[in-house]
Amino acid sequence: MSQHRSPTDWFGPFGIDAELAEKVLAAAAENGADDADLYFEHATTTSIGLSDRAVNRAHLSIDLGMGVRVVVGDQVGYAYTEDFDLESLLRAARVAAQIAHRGQKVVPVRATSRKISDFYPTQRHWADVDLVDRLPLVRNWEEWTFAEDPRVQKVQVSLADTDKHVLIVRLDGTMVADYRPMTRAMVGCTMIDGTQRETGHQNLASRVGLEYYTEERQRRMVKEAVQRASQALISESPPAGEMPVVLAAGSSGILLHEAIGHGMEADFNRKGISIYADKLGKRIAPADVTVVDDATVIGARGALNVDDEASPTEKTTLVENGILKTYLHDRISARHYGVDSTGSGRRESFRHPVLPRMRATYMEPGPHPPEDILKSVKNGLYCETFANGQVQIGAGDFAFYVRQGWLIEDGRLTKPVKDVNLIGNGPQVLESIEMVGNDLVIDEGGWTCGKDGQSVPVSQGMPTVKVAKLSVGGRR
């Protein structure tokens, strides 16, 4: 299967071609439009699960449909259909067209296909992998998990993969197709030691095929799940209140995602409802801080060859040496600001309109060895693994939940801690970043970002970073 095949190859058997797309776009633009696009999607997902020492559940799903969007200024009309007959497609187009009242129809340009980048080269597509070939993976993970520690009493394992094909056709004649693989693995275990019991989980995700699962990567996933359960058994809740916080390299990127990333999404800024709406070109962080949102990280869960409105993707520098350089743009906001789209227009599926979204967000490495950062803290909290976060875009207040970490005493990690929410204000926390490590790690976890009821896969990363203070929701 070629990445750069003709766009209609995949959807051809469904009767979708440039001529049909032109008819549907003509209906979408019959009342006038500044922009319009069609988004065809065909996704097949397979998941298998193992519990009670048996591979005892499987789920297959197919998602097929087309979304049509009509844009007039910053107004959007949107509809979708799960039927690919011309009548259904035209009906959806005419519903979306109701947003426009100019009465002056726009004639679409006959679509021609355009080649796109290849940020997720895939050797073995999931569609070519028999279910029976997936079984040894999950069986091994279970076996290795039990073997890792005799205190492991229960193991749950799952493996899910998606082969998604999209075809985007625009009013201006642009037509692109993208094959988007995704795999996600999870190992969880319950560990019992005397009267104490705890759980540990680890998951991996990537836009790639079966070749992703090297033995080293699989064994690392299992070890981390077991180690987390083991550490949780001896962990306590940390003290409550404000304290210095050191964020470990990797999934600490959740801080960037919540404290900066959402506030940089340009729809919030063009409406004036982001706390960063008047900060373009201004200093918002110390000079060591450079933050990017990067669609080009090979195989990353947040990688994208082309965005969901057919704009080329890129590595976007949001904050450069502490200065806010740009927002994350879709076509609507790019037109509003008079700039090019950053290729950040994304949607959960054909059922959802495009929004500016993050892809893989991380901080570039700084000058400090991580051990020097740790040594600089007298008393504080070291945050290692995370569960979830949330932000209030306008107020800038954000929170993220730390599954596991350590107390820092006299520059050393002393006591393990767990299950604590950290809360702060985005701009204030950015200003209070005191040290940036030289050890950037882009996390391999299966992060999913929610916005306006839409979920999209993202990645995040971070070097070790010291923040002067955050409010820690401990119980002591």
Binding site: L64, E82, S237, A240, A387, S471, G474
Partner: protein, 439 residues
């Protein structure tokens, strides 16, 4: 609806013909419309009509479940073949067998559930557009100093489901919903705090008037102004009625049969034991007329029946579906919650709060999570410091922490204000000696 039922029956027959001993097929269709207005015009209008088929099969005691939106007859036939073939590769899991037929059925008539407003089908596109414009114009009148942006939203939808089980159970269900709301963002120093007021209901006439939404937006903006963290410490917690779902949701996690079976429930072994004060009673009632989580049967087709989860502090029931019931040797209740109801008290929360020199009112959460195994929870909060029943300081950037095994022991009072616009029909709850972290 008959078209959906026909398709579900066809899928069951096809799967059985291909070797499935047991089959459940469900076909759904949903329609929704959303109009968002900002700055005097429609910002986004979305209309969707969605259909889908889901089915599960048991083949030689092997189980799998499937879903597709590709409803072309040939595609469905091919998909069923693939699904059956995939199932044969799995290992046996006989506990997945369907529930015995007498357990399945309807717990309330459609008339008793009353979740389908006839006004939905009569509603025109023009009526939606007019309502959206009226709501926006009314919300514009909310007096919000230094306002930057306002938006309003009108949405509604309906869904139809047809279900056929090979054990003989088959039924259909239809419901509708309506949602109105408004948001505003205002300037406050370098911050741009946002406030919102949204309401959902089964009947259009059960939604509040636009004036109430506008007034609530104005009140919330005033109450939010000047928010900041206060000193860390233990305070009484006044958990406002509309915010109770977060804490109750965390409590529900370790009640699940899956959590018990996987030995990751902090409430394991607590059936019949105290899990809260005598003030704590929690009912699960899927039969509330016009309830937002009302249903005739649950996800396994089990008859929907009200049951107590906690009675005067004593744990009465876990959430046990048929599968985990067999695994655990327990009688099934239901696999997932419906409407949660906490019976109201006699006084307003303001009257209760007068007794406390200082208490923290929580009206919303920001992030946070809980650990079902240990029971620990930690949530970000927003709200206000209440001194002798009076708001004296808006609060943000603080956390509340505790443990699910003892937080409800601290429940001391229940107000008289059950929240009607949610499937968590709870009054405001008052707890004592709860840990907050701020400055």
């Amino acid at each position: 609806m008959s078209e959906l039922l026909d398709l579900a029956q066809r899928v069951v027959r096809q799967a059985q013909a291909l070797g499935a001993q047991e089959v459940v097929a469900s076909v759904g269709k949903s329609i929704s419309t959303t109009i968002t207005r900002r700055d005097g015009k429609v910002e986004q209008a979305t209309e969707s009509t969605s259909r889908g088929l889901s089915f599960s099969v048991l083949v030689d005691n092997r189980f799998s479940s499937h879903g597709t939106s590709d409803l072309r007859p040939d595609a469905i036939s091919e998909f069923i073949k693939q699904a059956i073939a995939a199932t044969r590769i799995l290992e046996q899991d006989p506990e997945r067998a369907l529930p015995e037929a007498p357990l399945c059925g309807r717990g309330a008539t459609a008339a008793a559930l009353d979740v389908l407003d006839s006004a939905y089908n009569a509603r025109s596109a023009e009526a939606r557009a007019t309502d959206a414009e009226l709501l926006e114009q009314t919300a514009e009148k909310a007096n919000i100093p230094s306002v930057i942006s306002r938006s309003s939203q009108v949405a509604d939808g309906c869904s139809q489901t047809a279900r056929v089980d090979s054990n003989g159970f088959s039924d259909t269900h239809e419901d509708a919903w309506f949602m109105w709301g408004a948001e505003a963002t205002f300037q406050e120093g370098g911050k741009r705090p946002e406030v919102s007021s949204y309401f959902g209901a089964r009947y259009l006439t059960d939604l509040p008037e636009p004036q109430k939404i506008a007034q609530q937006l104005e009140d919330r903006a005033r109450e939010r102004a000047g928010s900041k963290p206060i000193d860390s410490g233990s305070y009484p917690l006044i958990l406002l009625n509309r915010a109770t779902g977060k804490l109750l949701g965390a409590f529900g996690g370790p009640l699940a049969g899956s959590a018990l079976h996987e030995q990751r429930s902090c409430l394991a072994g607590k059936l019949g034991s105290r899990v809260g004060s005598a003030k704590f009673t929690l009912l699960d009632d899927p039969t509330i007329p016009r309830g937002l989580a009302s249903r005739p049967w649950d996800g396994e087709g089990l008859i929907a029946r009200p049951f107590p989860v906690v009675s005067e502090g004593v744990l009465d029931s876990y959430y046990i579906n048929v599968y985990y019931g067999r695994k655990l040797g327990m009688k099934p209740t239901t696999g997932g919650r419906s409407n949660w109801v906490i019976p109201p008290g006699d006084q307003s929360w303001e009257a209760i709060a007068k007794a406390y020199p200082k208490a923290i009112l929580v009206d919303g959460f920001l992030g946070g999570n809980s650990n079902a195994t240990s029971g620990d929870f930690s949530f970000g909060i927003r709200g206000a410091l209440i001194e002798h029943g009076v708001r004296t300081q808006a609060i943000s950037e603080m956390n509340v922490s505790g443990n699910l095994t003892d937080i409800f022991e601290k429940l001391v009072e229940i107000a008289n204000d059950p929240y009607r616009y949610s499937s968590v029909v709870s009054p405001t709850l008052v707890f004592e000696d709860v840990r907050f972290s701020g400055t």
